[in-house]
Symmetry: C2
């Protein structure tokens, strides 16, 4: 029996699972929240305890790792985490190979999820696809010619930071109107809050205010989706603006790379039919008429990074 150990360092959560080569079910599975005010050392400690509880006396034959931040996939060295301090330049692959004496493969979560969807999910049978996660951030991972395409320095896939409206609001990256600034959950929440604070007469955003009991700090991307579903016009406008930005991004990518399929995952993709329709329509209008593509929902859900890590370990 060939045992695969899959690890997911997700920024806010840590997960680990074991499966057999070729299987589609977990033998064992463990998940823990990453501690608030934690760091790389505490994350690694927790992961180590999850692993030992999973493996008991067994030894894995290969380890695959999804990491929530930029990674040099060639060396398996983490560049940094945007959420947890202490990960800068940590040689994660090397640490795991030393500790378990088996080959380990490490890549960032978007690339790993793309690989997972390609092998086990909505990308099966598709030789060229772009996986996009729309959640706290917006990122992407490529499969081209049936294999991950990571770019010269492993930085490919950053659809979150392509500019779709140069007159738009400023993103943390310094640019105006990039996809993440318009389409990610936290930025949509920020825009809603800012609008509501400015507005003296409380005409718009009634359902939105009601959902957070007028505590605007509680607004999230999820709350905006909920308010939009209740017909809140401000929430609808912001959500559609995000869908528009993502649609322009997807149409531009279709023109540039002409992949067969776009696969969308992440919490914002649960925002409902209107959001999906706007993404589809805008992407179709932005791409040249001769360029065909499909946009579909990710199939693996929250387990995409772990199943991707299995695929990564298998492809070594």
């Amino acid at each position: 029996m060939t045992l695969i150990l899959a690890l997911d360092f997700g920024g806010t959560k840590l997960a680990a699972a074991v499966t057999q080569l070729g299987s589609r079910e977990w033998l064992r599975y463990e998940r823990r929240l990453s501690p608030i005010n934690g760091n790389a050392t505490t994350d690694l400690e927790i992961m180590r305890s999850l692993i030992h509880s999973l493996l008991q006396d067994n030894t894995p034959d290969a380890i695959g790792v999804s990491f929530g931040g930029p990674v040099d996939a060639t060396t398996g060295r983490v560049r940094l985490s945007h959420h947890v301090p202490g990960w800068e330049n940590l040689p994660l692959k090397h640490l795991l190979e030393e500790e378990f004496a088996v080959p380990a493969s490490v890549d960032n979560d978007a690339n790993v999820a793309a690989l997972g969807e390609h092998r086990f999910g909505a990308g099966q049978g598709y030789d060229s696809l772009f996986y996009i996660t729309i959640s706290t951030g917006v990122g992407g991972g490529w499969i081209l010619n049936g294999k991950p395409w990571r770019g010269t320095a492993g930085m490919a896939g950053e659809i979150g930071h392509i500019v779709v409206n140069p007159a738009g609001p400023v993103c943390l990256c310094g640019k105006r109107g990039c996809v993440e600034r318009l389409a990610s959950g936290p930025y949509m929440a920020e825009d809603a809050k800012e609008y509501l604070l400015k507005q003296a007469n409380h005409v718009q955003g009634k359902q939105l205010r009601s959902l957070v009991n007028d505590n605007l700090d509680l607004i999230t991307g999820k709350i905006i989706s909920d308010a939009a579903a209740q017909g809140d016009e401000l929430a609808i406008k912001i959500l559609q603006g995000g869908a528009w930005a993502l649609g322009v991004g997807i149409g531009n990518v279709a023109n540039l790379i002409n992949p067969q399929r776009f696969i969308l995952g992440g919490s914002v993709t649960k925002a409902g039919e209107h959001w999906w329709n706007t993404v589809q329509k805008t992407a179709r209008e932005t791409a040249l008429p001769e360029i065909d593509f499909e946009i579909v929902a990710a199939a693996l859900g929250d387990d995409a990074p772990l199943w991707g890590a299995v695929a990564l370990a298998e492809s070594g």
Copy 2:
């Protein structure tokens, strides 16, 4: 001696040349303007006469073809020409293989030029690059993992039709503010003419008017570059707007695909240092700081399609 026959159906010109496998010099070379009001049949007749004059009694061992319009590179069938009628669905590869009884390979000019620059020009030693031509139109060709990337349906590389300013002017493709609408020669000329026609007092565009003796229909991309070099403020503004659009496009592509090198060819790239500086600066500002790339001028000039056709024939 292995003879390679290279053909370039360029829309406004037709060129053919022969070389030996492995050589970097032409044995013979012929070039003719495509007749005004011509069609696919007259273009093919002229090309046939060029070929017979080149080959004399020799037989080529392989044929490579650059075609100025969308091609299905797998079947070697032309989809259409935007300049010359009668090319719709013409099986060019098949026609040539029937006539010369040797293998022929056909691809669109941007893909072929990318291959030419990769094999013989500014892309030698670069495994991932994006070649962009900025001329009558704006198009691109990919080399990824050392090989052409054409997309699912051979439509990859259409950087001319990615949207960089959704509030910009309308392009023939139907969208607002795509790169070609802002950066191509004819559209820059159109914008200059329109501005000058609207302007009653003739304050701006003095040098531009003077270069065409007040006949605004004579304005071209080249004239705008010349006027800009003479300090004409309107010409400078339009040219810089085009360079900005291209720079945003390049920065977006860097974020998405992270290639090592961008190679720029086509007549507009002769517009001078200011144009190049704006392209470089805007691309650098648009790409994430972690993403490195170089933007360089094409090395093969007008012969890029023919040398690319040689590379295409060699790679079969």
